[in-house]
């Protein structure tokens, strides 16, 4: 290669560069929000669609749905379902938003977590199901998940599961070091110190900054940092609940009592298995993941009520939990609704409970069979009683932002800095608040502190 490169070559590569850059910017445009009345689809229409059959594409990552889909197809041989795992959580939302923006490749049913649903509802990317008769299901579901699928007047999905929180702990670790299982967060900090002092490889928990956990614990503490009224949004992380959380967590951070491992990573599964992560505060949907992801620790873990912010309290919170929705672009609404009804109201509920999921229906939560089920993984513990109790004690009045998915994606940019530097957590939450306000304002919301 002896020639100098010609300007044309350079121009070419520059163009190629620009083209490559712009590829990331494709899509977008055209979701003009028209406030159309919800579609009216009667039960007969749904029945007719079932008999006629057809193909359904479902985007979901919930593992227990596989069996539900199998059963549904067996019951309705004309229906052919393609169950696609398009990613977990945010990855799937990204794919869904892109499909909606592009106007093609949109699934007929999509799993959406409660915290992200308002965003899809606001953009009318998912159908309002009141016209399908979803309004009659109010008493079928528990109040928590049921209120989570509503936005304004509309019902934008059917609750699939819920995530009342519990504290999972490795009983072997606690027993070995003679530490009591904490019942308050102050005791939790004490336990963290005791365990880490006994063996420096043990941490009470892993945390590298998790928006979901943070908001759930603030929720439990009675905080209401988000207030949403249509497009008027208030974001304020200086209320009492948020402060309680920040002060307690700050102690854990200052003393390096939290393992710097990100949840769902390989190291995390290893840590849960080998006893270096002693507890995990999360939703009641976790047992299934324990069984499949940490088989080595079977029998070592137990569930306990979430530690309290005040001694003698009973407050809990929701963490995760998701609904099944029908994207607006789907042309198979009736058939899709038939599946939603089967999976979340009908026989699918029991199938999913058997698979280890935590239901959102009121009947299931009260059934003796459910409450008395023994979890082999938890050494035969009747853990559902703890979860059901937790589900009843979730403080009311919490709401997520209508752009929570984005807010969560920038949590580590802002509040996450408290986990790796001297920035106090309260300051981190403040900068998260500021960044969320900035984004909300840019998106046309009226945001105040």
């Amino acid at each position: 290669m002896k020639s100098k490169i010609s300007p044309a070559v350079l121009r070419g590569s520059a163009l190629a560069l620009a083209a490559a850059l712009t590829l990331t910017a494709c899509g977008g445009g055209g979701n003009d929000a028209g406030g159309a009345a919800p579609e009216e689809v009667s039960a007969d229409d749904v029945q007719a669609a079932l008999e006629e059959g057809g193909d359904l594409t479902i985007w979901a990552w919930e593992p227990t749905l596989e069996k539900v889909v199998e059963d549904f197809e067996a019951e309705h041989p004309n229906v052919n379902i393609d169950l696609v795992n398009a990613g977990t959580g945010n990855d799937q939302y990204t794919a869904l938003q892109n499909a909606v923006a592009a106007g093609s490749g949109v699934p007929d049913v999509a799993q959406i977590e409660y915290f992200a649903l308002p965003q899809f509802a606001l953009a009318e990317s998912v159908k309002d199901l009141t016209g399908y008769g979803a309004g009659d299901l109010a008493d079928t579901f528990n109040p928590g998940p049921w209120s989570s699928v509503q936005a304004g007047e509309g019902i934008y999905g059917l609750p699939m599961d819920s995530g009342p929180m519990a504290l999972y702990y490795n009983t072997e670790v606690f027993e070995k070091h003679g530490v009591e299982v904490p019942t308050t967060w102050d005791e939790y900090v004490e336990a963290a110190r005791a365990l880490h002092a006994a063996d420096s490889s043990i941490y009470i928990a892993n945390d590298t900054g998790d928006a979901g956990l943070t908001t759930s614990l603030i929720w439990q503490a009675g905080g209401q940092p988000y207030k949403v009224d249509g497009t008027d949004v208030t974001i304020d992380f200086s209320d009492e609940g948020s402060t309680k959380f920040a002060e307690t967590w700050q102690q854990l951070l200052d003393e390096d009592l939290l393992s710097p491992i990100t949840s769902w990573s390989d190291e995390w599964y290893q840590g849960l298995g080998n006893g270096t992560i002693a507890t995990l505060a999360t939703g009641a949907w976790m047992p299934g993941n324990f069984t499949s992801g940490v088989p080595a620790a079977s029998g070592k873990w137990r569930a306990a009520p979430l530690p309290q912010w005040e001694e003698g309290g009973t407050a809990s919170a929701e963490n995760g939990g998701s609904s099944l929705t029908i994207p607006t672009a789907s042309e198979k609404g009736a058939l899709a609704y038939a599946f939603l009804d089967y999976a979340n109201v009908g026989d699918g509920v029991q199938t999913r409970i058997d698979g280890g999921a935590f239901p959102a229906t009121a009947a299931a939560l009260e059934s003796e069979e459910f409450l008395n089920a023994e979890f082999e993984y938890f050494g035969g513990q009747q853990a559902n009683q703890i979860f059901a109790e937790s589900a009843r004690n979730v403080p009311e009045g919490w709401s997520y932002l209508p752009f929570q998915a984005y807010a969560n994606s920038i949590f580590n940019d802002t509040a996450g800095q408290a986990y790796v530097s001297d920035t106090p957590l309260t300051e981190g939450l403040k900068s998260w608040q500021d960044a969320s306000i900035k984004y909300g304002s840019e998106q046309g919301f009226t945001v105040s502190e």
Binding site: M1, I5, L17, A20, L21
Partner: protein, 312 residues
């Protein structure tokens, strides 16, 4: 060193092999378009259209509340005042200033060593140094991510085996250097190959003449080899500049391992990506992409001018 053919004329005005100059002036022939038509069609669709579409997008703003509207140059003025954008640009510039010279220097040394003919097992070294380039960047980042782990990774193993405490390569202070290490590892082979092929075509007679004159090996390198491969050096430098500004794969993969070290605006490309895919701000994302494209073009062009100056 000879200069090869002059730059090809601009597209569309390529002179066909005219029999006579005067004949062309009499009647304008369109048959040339017939030949380049298929190319131009593809070129317009896959190169020009996306750029035009991005520019078009950048003049609008689509909000969750309020819908889509024309905003003129507002996105551009916002980007120029956007501290996150500038911090990402500063970061890749720093990356460029440190990583590219290191990488090119190592690649050059390796190429010279291979070309010297004094290396035993030359083809083995050549292929092993080139091999990392054949590993997809995503796989390479994952692999290095595991090695960087202080608990269960290579760094963790070294720590526990030797009883030392190495700094965490994924901490905010070191993450840029760690990414630089991955990129260097990936692209030394590629640049080495460019340099090596340029070295191979230097006429042997030059070396013989130099030896007769009593030149040392070092003189051979500085007086013959380096000037002769200047073109290749400039090409490699430009590719590296573009590559640095486009840094995306490595930080995007490592982000899940070190979420607090790699922000959503760590590099301009990552910023454009998160604006578009988690923030649904397609229009602003397009604006950032266009500004970055222009900046990259300007810098690449400056490198080219600087690199070629002495030659003409």
């Amino acid at each position: 060193m000879t200069t090869a053919s002059p730059p090809p004329a601009a597209l569309g005005t390529q002179p066909k092999p005219a029999k006579r100059a005067q004949k062309r002036t009499q009647k304008r022939s369109w048959s040339g378009w017939l030949f380049i038509g298929p190319f131009m069609a593809v070129f317009a669709v896959v190169f020009l259209a996306p750029i035009a579409y991005s520019i078009w997008l950048s003049f609008f703003r689509n909000q969750l509340v309020g819908g889509n509207g024309f905003v003129g140059l507002a996105n551009y003025s916002q980007a120029l005042q956007d501290s996150q954008f500038w911090s990402s640009l500063l970061r890749v510039t720093l990356f460029l200033a440190v990583q590219v010279p290191v990488m090119l220097l190592i690649a050059l040394l390796v190429a010279l060593a291979l070309d010297s003919g004094r290396l035993y097992g030359k083809s083995f070294f050549r292929i092993s140094i080139f091999l990392p380039y054949a590993v997809p960047a995503v796989v390479a980042s994952l692999m290095w991510g595991f090695m960087y782990g202080t608990r269960f990774g290579l760094v963790g193993n070294i720590n526990s085996a030797l009883g030392i405490n190495l700094p965490n390569p994924l901490s905010p202070d070191l993450i840029l250097a760690s990414i630089g290490n991955i990129v260097t590892w990936e692209f030394i082979g590629y640049n080495m190959l460019i340099f090596y092929s340029a070295l191979r075509v230097i006429p042997k007679s030059l070396y013989e003449a130099a030896e007769i004159d009593g030149a040392s090996q070092f003189r051979l390198v500085t007086a013959i080899k380096l000037p002769a491969i200047r073109g290749a050096l400039v090409v490699a430098a430009i590719f590296s500049v573009i590559g640095s500004f486009q840094l995306f794969n490595e930080p995007a993969i490592l982000q899940s391992l070190a979420p607090n070290s790699i922000s959503t605006y760590f590099t301009p490309n990552l910023y454009a990506y998160s604006l578009s895919f988690s923030g649904q701000q397609y229009n602003y994302s397009a604006t950032v992409a266009i500004i970055m494209g222009v900046i990259t073009m300007v810098i690449a062009y400056a490198v080219q001018l600087r690199g070629m100056r002495k030659e003409s």
